[in-house]
Homo-oligomer: 420 residues x 3
């Protein structure tokens, strides 16, 4: 008997919990038909809603999640360069006219005496994300010896041996190690150094070896990318790029923006619009950034095409930072002595930077934007309530209808006000 009573008790308790669970509390509101407050409320709503939908969702793609690109790049340079008439490239280059440079780089009446192909001017022959094409060089044949330092080096000129002591850090940028002796070089007396001799003479312009035809070289850039989150793989060599197309096409911003073969003259013009500066880059070197940008929206299409842009990175402003060069050496043995040909290589360092952003619809960012948006919409209620209670004629009435002062109710008869 008691078991049945207990069961019935538990069932009743369960039923009342279920009733509580299956109930719904809705807020009680007061509806005010007033053009003034209605306008304030609706305008605030429309402003917030258009911001949320128009800016956050549509413009900023708040309904998408994003992924960045993972990329592999390989390059291949084609073109033959050659050395011509022994040139004297003058020193005050910045004052020369455009015609001087066009003449300097023209291929008329050249007597070629040395040809250079990729195995000669691409140094190192194989690099990742980057390629250096030598366009000019200074060559000096050297052996280990003692010889005078170059006059232009800081504190290299001396009167007698005592000037060779206490050089401190001055000798850090010299060609070799000071020996403490002062010797004659041409009509000056310089400090004798232990070094590869003779030292490189940067002012001996007769030895400049400007490589002709570099502007006609081409770079073939192959770029494979992947957006991991979306499992999408793309490449810049498109399916319709047949062998014959690739053998003849050349990249052009408007006419052929997807050909992956870039002619140096064209991309240098894009990176450096000033013609004289472009030619100076061939003589002094330069750093060019080639950017491959993949901005994809996978909600509308599975295709995506890259966009190429070219920017010069070495500054033209100060002396220090313009141009690009480095030194390397070819080594031989002559009569069992180690001989090296030191090259000061000026050229174009191309750095290839691949970046990109892909967006695709995803429920989480959409819901976060909607949830935060709902939070924002309550600002319109806050604003309308503020106007209602402070800026209307009937504000006292509204306040009495809206806010029930519980303490005043308690002061009155309890049972009278119980239904409020």
């Amino acid at each position: 008997m008691s078991q049945e009573i207990n069961k019935k008790k538990n069932f009743n308790i369960f039923k009342s919990h279920m009733r509580g669970f299956m109930s719904y509390s809705t807020e009680r509101s007061a509806t005010i038909k007033s053009v003034k407050i209605g306008l304030v409320y609706r305008i605030a709503q429309i402003l917030l809603l258009s911001y949320i939908v128009g800016w956050e969702l549509m413009h900023n793609k708040g309904y998408q999640e994003f992924d960045t690109v993972s990329s592999v790049v390989t390059t291949k340079v084609k073109g033959q360069g050659f050395l011509a008439n022994n040139l004297t490239i003058e020193t005050n280059l910045k004052e020369k006219s455009n015609e001087y440079f066009e003449n300097l780089f023209s291929l008329k009446s050249n007597v070629e005496y040395h040809m250079l192909d990729t195995a000669d001017y691409v140094i190192p022959p194989n690099e990742y994300n980057s390629v250096f094409i030598m366009s000019n060089f200074l060559k000096t044949k050297q052996t280990q010896d003692r010889c005078p330092e170059e006059s232009t080096k800081y504190k290299a000129i001396c009167q007698n041996d005592s000037d060779c002591e206490n050089l401190g850090s001055a000798a850090n940028s010299w060609n070799g190690i000071p020996t403490g002796k002062c010797i004659r070089k041409d009509n000056k007396t310089n400090i004798k150094i232990f070094s590869w001799c003779p030292v490189e003479d940067e002012n001996d312009r007769n030895e400049d070896q400007l490589i002709r035809n570099v502007l006609n070289f081409t770079i073939f850039i192959k770029n494979d990318i992947e957006f991991k989150k979306f499992k999408k793989k793309l490449r810049n060599v498109l399916p319709y790029h047949t062998n014959s197309y690739l053998q003849t096409c050349t990249y052009h911003e408007e006419y052929d923006p997807h050909c992956p073969i870039f002619q140096l003259n064209y991309i240098l013009s894009l990176a450096e619009p000033d013609i004289k500066e472009k030619y100076l880059m061939m003589i002094k070197g330069g750093v060019i950034l080639i950017e491959i940008l993949w901005n994809c929206d996978f909600d509308f299409t599975t295709k995506c095409l890259p966009k190429y842009s070219f920017r010069r990175f070495d500054t033209k402003e100060t002396n220090t930072a313009s141009g690009f060069n480095f030194r390397f050496a070819n080594r031989y043995r002559q009569n069992n002595i180690e001989v090296r040909e030191l090259y000061k290589a000026f050229g174009l360092r191309f750095i290839i930077n691949v970046s990109g952003l892909a967006g695709k619809f995803s429920i989480v960012p959409l819901m976060i934007t909607i949830g935060a948006g709902i939070g924002l919409m309550s600002i319109s209620v806050i604003v309308a309530d503020c106007v209602l209670l402070h800026c209307t004629k009937k504000k006292r009435l509204y306040q009495e209808i809206k806010e029930l002062d519980v303490n005043s109710v308690l002061e009155k008869n309890f049972s009278n006000s119980v239904r409020l």
Copy 2:
């Protein structure tokens, strides 16, 4: 006297502000016990709550902030390769059977005549993020001279000297610079070029130098990473990797997934499951991406292990883009003439890409998710209110209880309705 009155006034004003500050306005609601509306409301709540907790928080780790990896990679290749019997590698390789290739690459009855170690086949000897292992090469000994261009070059074949003019951009992909003369080469007449001579003959398969044993080489990859935000440093050479372990272990996906030493045959099989294609890669070269993925969850453990994957990047589809090669030269002086040995190096370019994502609990993303989630939950109220006012039998009653029409109140007696 007036001071005391002022003080009392200010104190009263302060007291009333404090009273206002210490008050709390709670919304007045109407509780409806209806199974229909209760169900709609609770089901909407449960759906939204399970989405927020189950998907946003748990699955998408909405309570974590994330950090990307900063990494340093060094590589070391080990293995001896050698050249054997002068091979003739035939040209129609794609039609050959697997057995042809296994024979070609077998090490039986080889007469080695030249050994190559890392200083010979890793070019350049030291690179960051990348390593090239030469597996096949074409060697041509050359000096600067004038000689016939190769027959297969576009427009290289001529009948007489006039064919050598107006070549336009056709000569861009030649080996050298056209001289304007037509000369005999074998039984053809080709345009004479100024170039490194003789030109490389890509069809002279007798000169192919397939390097044996490359598949047995190993790459030791050392990878140190850091998640800056979380100040966590990790490396792929684990503490229990002793010297003796590292001398004998080899990476295997299942049996030894953390050994940082990779045998080329194994990782090539993973990147290129087709056996014939794998052998073709040894002959024509290939680009392999080695990915080291660090996905870490620092809420449960401070440890994190990397995952390696291997992918072939050069396509097999078109002729243009398959394989990988570049040219370099060793230079000598013979009788004071510059001689170079031009190598067309085919091989495996490995690119090492390190990426990763680490998550760790953080209060801000958790609070943003919760805050936006609370905004989302109000959708269940909107839905239930809609059902209440439009889809129930008693909707008119509910509307009258829920919404007090202020204008109707004003039309009635002011004082009668003042307590509503």
Copy 3:
């Protein structure tokens, strides 16, 4: 007539829709002046508000959007190194004192016999994001031949020819290919290999070539970065860095933190504070990460300066992973035989990592933070309601005032309660 009635009907419908649109429903609330509940409510509000404003907005910059850096780096090394007296670097280096090393590296009474400049010790001469400076090397002159393997190689020592079979993978890390014969080397008998001979002898310390003065070398790092989203370009060579400044300045953490020229001794001391370890790095090589960090806040200023930090990456803990070396070769022809000088190059591999984060005010993250913050603030209402209905003496009264039980209303007279 009916048209006018229809028009009037439509206009009335339109007017009622407009009236509905121009109305505003405000919630009806009950205001309770109770210190207890007021305190709970206000404290909860203040806590949530200070978290949202203080932590999410101010500390975590929740009002900013962020961008990562896109960067280009070029390096230039300066300095002369030289080889001195034939050194014997002893093998048990870790047990030597600091004085031993200072003596070893001192420049007193050196007889230089070979100078090295950047074309000699920077290998490869030109790299992107990275630079290797050789500090010590082992040189072996070799030709292709058959000779005994080195005794320390695994299983290289033999008694008779039968030991040379079945070596399995043991020979993978040898210098050459086993020939199957056992021959005498010094007073041992080793397996004869086909290789570049004689093999490199890592224990022949007489051949170590420690390059002097490496610690005085300098690296000039030029770094150009861009924050694409904000269209800001910055460089580490600042406008006030004149030519003369750059010729003499040296980076120092406190005294000159923006000079882009780094002296090796100083940055090695920062990366490796232990003096003995620093010297060991010159002998055995090391991997140093140079980090350039650009953290910018573009809300307050358009300027932004980089911060440099230096970290050693190769571990000191285990034998395996410390130091850094690789092998390269210079090739000659003597009497028409190919001769190579194999270098085992120990040195400092510097890896330059540029990273950064820029923040700038943006309306979207601010609105998301505010929207989610508004959602969070409702927690204070939930808490106060809970206290109100469960933890006060007058909870029954509050419940009756707050929640109108609709079903009880329905059970009473309909018309009596209609205005609630």
